[in-house]
């Protein structure tokens, strides 16, 4: 089954192509997007036969099997029906947008985003794995964000896009959490399994939380009360987007999800009480607010909210016939609302206004558009012989059949009636207030009919409204049956698609709605004049206030944590380490072992004495910064000595080199700091710092003692045994760094490189303020130093290369070798001036960092060539003269990257600090 992935891929391919060709003309861009859409429709058509026979088409590729995430697609009746809506309306919208876009709008960008959305939406409908569905779900939110903000110079577009993304994104996160719960209950994220596990899911203790989370996702997406307010603000989008995303497809993703998971989640008290009240509130609130809008698209947006509430309510009622009505209304609403949005877009396009107060009497100027809009409005109002009437009748019948608490049995049909009255009223307003009711007010042009092809999509949709409304059984019947079977995962119930069901209660309610609506509209227009109602969106106000609160909170937290005091950061960091590290230590005990002791020897005691004396000296001198640097030097030396004595030559070498490099860096920076740190103002704080530092030291000492006294052969045996056969190197430390833990090392050198680049960014073009210890003296040439430095450089390079090449089997490796090289070069700068550090802007070393990262990554990828996973070494040895056998491992390539990054970042830091000296006038 290759048609299925191809179907999904087509829009994405179109989006990529359009993004790659930003200069395409409007027609060309529309053709690309349209071709993908029509191609998709053809593929979908090819599946129709199989799906109609009740077959479920599947396609599956493992993605992250360990997480249960599979790229699995699944087409049943519901998916097929929704995909048909997405592609069908999509094709019309592409055609419409071709004529809608203005000359200054970049067409390729618009159609690329539109195709991206189409792909994402298809993904939602076709996904056969819940996690995959969530991925596409979020992608629809993101593409909707981009499309709402298409006119990104307009503040309302940006604000609307942000609001939509925040609310739907938040819902998406809830959905993810809900899906994770469901997957855990059902044992799989595959839709087939989940849909079959309805009983188990409903019986599970976590059913209610899972249901609530999933519904939050659906409600935010489908703009259900009280999350509805993003939708009216999304009307800042270009009208094709409103017609497509915000009436026909994306906002239906929520109700689609409710329908999709119906067999798994529905059929419980909790379902009824969570879904029905929300749907009912949305239905009524949306309808009432639609009537008082002054913006054409605003009215349609609130009407959309109301209709989405209607569909939600139907699925909440949870009878098989209610499902039929819900699916039917999804289809009908998509048709008439998309055409209405397009008509509104045409009016906006040809008059330059969407304001009810200015648009009047357009019938004379655009009669054809007017006629189309009137028919679609009547469908929206639910007038007989139009498709809206049919699903509305079914809806009313279902509300009357509600079986629940007596209160709900009254409220549901009553709400439906009220909403019906409002629906008629606002539909009437859309017609009467725009096309009749006087003359246009203050338009800057004379309105006229739109270009021929801009109207075609509207005509197609309106004809559909009529045909479906008059001959439902023969037109929409099969498609509806498909969808219903998909929702119920079984045969559709008995239902009759007919215009005339006889005189019954639903018909009476419809009639009351019609009469009441007409009376309401004209009554209001006479009584208070709808044009005078100024209404700011409450939802927007609440949303803005919430966002402001959140930003304030974030600022306060940030200020509390990041107040610019290095002492504070260090305190928090050490405190966190004490708590996190100390908790398990206290809980489980340190676990000291009792091995036979080894004599320390004179050297051991000496190192210890140096260490203690050095630490005490730092404490004594910490305010005299230069003295502190010297004392820290003693500590570093003592630590290196200890490493040597405890048989860790790698560490000793590294520690020595780091020691020298840090003295250099600290001295360079110290020039721009006060030579003495200020005294503590408060005694209490010094004690606090002392206690925290003491606790940290005690903790580390305990841990070290525990490690030293425990058996040494816990995990080291594994490494010593396997490094040669599997890593191809006898130096276990180096093999672990470049192979076993290669990914960590890649991250670490990236961080090191970033640190160098950050320093570069901070100091670039910045002149330091010199410190005060010694006024700068003119440089006297230091001949002895210069000569010895020159002799030393080739030696340092040789040692560096040697350490590097043999690093895989004996102490050495990229890190140590890189430091040796950096220090060799630094010595040149000490002797001959900062010109020895390469280009003054540090670009030499930036290039080293960049190439180092590239080489390291390539080294990792190189493992693929030998059929190993990323960063797994493979080792043919190559004999080099003098050095001996050198492993020609992919790990060597990786280590080269480490070498370059370490040397480059160290030298970049030195070069940038030295440059600040030059700019401070130290020359």
């Amino acid at each position: 089954m290759t048609a299925l992935p191809l179907l999904l891929a087509l829009p994405f391919v179109a989006a990529l192509a359009l993004a790659a060709l930003p200069r395409l003309s409007r027609t060309a861009a529309a053709l690309v997007a349209g071709a993908a859409t029509l191609g998709g429709l053809a593929l979908l058509g090819g599946m129709a036969g199989a799906v109609a026979d009740g077959e479920v088409l599947r396609f599956k590729l493992d993605w992250l099997p360990s997480l249960g995430l599979a790229f699995s697609l699944r087409v049943d009746g519901l998916a097929w029906m929704f995909a048909a809506i997405v592609l069908g309306i999509g094709a019309l919208v592409v055609l419409y947008a071709r004529w809608y876009l203005a000359d200054e709008d970049p067409p390729a960008r618009f159609f690329a985003m539109l195709s991206l959305f189409m792909g994402a939406m298809l993904g939602v409908t076709l996904a056969g794995n819940l996690l995959l569905l969530v991925v596409f779900w979020e992608l629809t939110s993101i593409s909707s964000f981009l499309l709402i903000g298409f006119w990104h110079r307009r503040a309302d577009a940006r604000a609307g896009a942000r609001m939509a993304l925040t609310i739907t994104g938040m819902g998406g996160l809830c959905l993810l959490a809900g899906v994770l719960l469901i997957g855990r209950i059902a044992g799989s994220f595959e839709l087939d399994v989940v849909l079959a596990a309805g009983e188990a899911i409903r019986a599970h203790a976590l059913y209610e939380p899972a249901l609530a989370l999933v519904l939050l996702g659906a409600f935010t997406k489908s703009a259900q009360f009280p999350f509805h307010s993003w939708l009216p603000h999304a009307m800042a989008a270009p009208t094709p987007v409103s017609a497509y995303l915000h009436s026909a497809t994306m906002v239906k993703a929520g109700v689609f999800l409710i329908a999709r998971l119906h067999p798994a989640l529905a059929g419980s008290e909790a379902w009824f009480w969570m879904v029905v009240p929300v749907g009912l509130a949305t239905l009524v609130v949306g309808a009432a607010l639609a009537l008082v809008q002054q913006d054409l698209k605003g009215l349609l947006a609130y009407s959309t909210i109301s209709h989405l509430g209607l569909i939600t309510l139907l699925f909440g009622l949870d009878t098989e016939l209610a499902v039929v009505a819900g699916v039917f209304h999804i289809l009908n609403h998509a048709t008439f609302k998309a055409s209405l949005f397009m008509a509104a877009g045409i009016i906006d396009h040809e008059t330059g206004s969407r304001d009810f107060r200015r648009l009047n009497g357009l019938w004379k100027h655009m009669p054809v558009t007017g006629a189309l809009a009137i028919v679609a409005s009547l469908a929206m109002a639910g007038v007989p012989l139009l498709n809206g009437f049919l699903s509305k009748e079914m809806f009313l019948a279902e509300t009357l059949a509600t079986e629940s608490h007596a209160l709900m049995e009254f409220l549901v049909p009553a709400g439906a009636l009220v909403a019906g009255i409002f629906a008629v009223a606002y539909s009437l307003r859309f017609v009467h207030d725009v096309f009749f009711n006087g003359e246009p007010v203050g338009l800057d042009r004379v309105p006229h009919e739109p270009p021929r092809f801009m109207r075609v999509p509207v005509e197609v949709l309106v004809v559909l409204c009529l045909v479906v409304g008059m001959f439902p059984q023969h037109t929409i019947g099969p498609l509806l049956a498909l969808g219903v079977q998909g929702v119920l995962q079984g045969p559709a119930p008995e239902y009759k698609l007919a215009i005339w069901h006889g005189f019954n209660l639903p018909l009476a309610l419809s009639a009351i709605g019609l009469v009441g609506g007409v009376a309401l509209y004209f009554g209001l227009q006479r009584g208070i004049n709808l044009h005078r109602i100024e209404r700011a969106s409450t939802g927007k106000r609440v949303f803005d206030a919430l966002v402001r609160r959140l930003v304030d909170l974030a600022r306060r937290v940030t200020r509390a944590l990041e107040n610019g005091s290095l002492q504070r950061y260090l305190l928090l960091l050490v405190l966190a380490a004490v708590v996190l590290g100390g908790a398990p230590l206290l809980e489980a005990g340190p676990g000291f072992g009792d091995p036979p002791g080894t004599p320390a020897g004179i050297a051991g005691w000496l190192a210890l004495a140096l260490l203690v004396a050095g630490v005490l000296a730092v404490l004594r001198w910490y305010r005299e910064r230069l003295l502190a640097v010297i004392a820290v030097g003693v500590v570093g030396l003592a630590v290196s000595l200890l490493f040597v004595l405890l048989s860790a030559p790698d560490l000793a070498l590294t520690q020595l080199l780091v020691e020298v490099a840090s003295v250099l860096l600290i001295l360079l920076a110290l020039r721009f700091l006060p030579q003495q740190s200020p005294p503590e103002r408060r005694r209490g704080r010094a004690w606090l710092h002392g206690v925290v530092a003491g606790a940290f030291g005690a903790g580390v000492a305990t841990a070290v003692y525990a490690v030293l006294t425990r058996p040494t052969r816990s995990i080291s045996d594994y490494f010593l045994r396997t490094t040669v056969p599997e890593g191809g190197g006898a130096n276990a430390v180096n093999v672990i760094i470049v192979d076993y833990r290669g990914f960590d090392t890649l991250g670490e050198i990236a961080v090191f490189g970033i640190a160098g680049l950050l320093l570069h960014a901070l100091l670039r073009g910045r002149a330091g303020v010199p410190g005060t210890l010694v006024p700068p003296q003119p440089a006297r040439p230091a001949f002895l130093l210069q000569v010895s430095a020159q002799v030393l450089l080739p030696l340092a390079i040789a040692v560096s290369l040697y350490l590097f090449l043999r690093g895989h089997n004996a102490p050495g490796g990229g890190f140590i070798a890189g430091l040796v090289l950096a220090l060799g070069v630094a010595l040149q700068a000490l002797a001959a001036g900062r010109e020895a550090l390469g280009a003054p802007d540090g670009r030499t070393w930036q290039a080293w960092i960049a190439w180092g990262l590239v080489v390291a990554t390539l080294g990792g990828i190189g493992s693929f060539l030998f059929g190993h996973p990323f960063l797994t070494s493979s080792t043919p040895y190559v004999d080099l003269p003098l050095v001996g056998a050198v492993p020609f491992a992919s790990a060597t390539v990786f280590d080269t990257g480490v070498y370059l990054v370490v040397a480059g970042a160290t030298l970049l830091m030195l070069a940038m600090l030295a440059r600040v000296h030059a700019q401070a006038g130290d020359r």
């Binding site: 020897g601 004179i602 050297a603 005691w605 000496l606 004495a609 140096l610 004396a613 003295l627 640097v629 010297i630 004392a631 030097g633 003693v634 030396l637 290196s640 000595l641 040597v644 004595l645 030559p649 000793a652 070498l653 020595l656 080199l657 020691e659 020298v660 003295v663 250099l664 001295l667 360079l668 110290l670 020039r671 010199p770 010694v774 006024p775 700068p776 003296q777 440089a779 130093l785 030393l792 030696l795 340092a796 040692v799 004996a810 102490p811 040796v820 060799g824 630094a826 010595l827 700068a829 000490l830 001036g833 900062r834 550090l837 030195l910 600090l913 030295a914 000296h917 130290d922 020359r923």
Partner: protein, 89 residues
């Protein structure tokens, strides 16, 4: 013969280092302290060589070589800083 001498050499070096440490702590001048640190490095170098002979392990010589090659950079930098206030001209 070597075996008999080595402990004595280690002890002498340790004494030298302790004395250097004393000088480093007492000063009085900053130059005294820098020199004391340098002497510490030199003594460590010597100590590593002696330990390498004692324990017959070449790795110690390499550590000594690295100190000899690059260990004085810190001293040079400190000297520069004390004398001129800037390290790299």
């Amino acid at each position: 013969m070597t075996a008999a001498v080595l402990p004595f050499v280690v002890g002498a070096l340790a004494l030298a280092m302790l004395l250097s440490l004393l000088r480093l702590l007492r000063g009085p001048g900053i130059a005294d302290r820098v020199l004391a640190l340098d002497t510490l490095y030199v003594c460590t170098l010597a100590l590593l060589v002696v330990l390498g002979i004692q324990w017959r392990d070449g790795v110690y010589f390499e550590a000594a070589l690295l100190i000899g090659l690059l260990g004085f950079i810190g001293t040079v930098a400190l000297g520069r800083y004390v004398e001129r206030g800037k390290v790299i001209g």
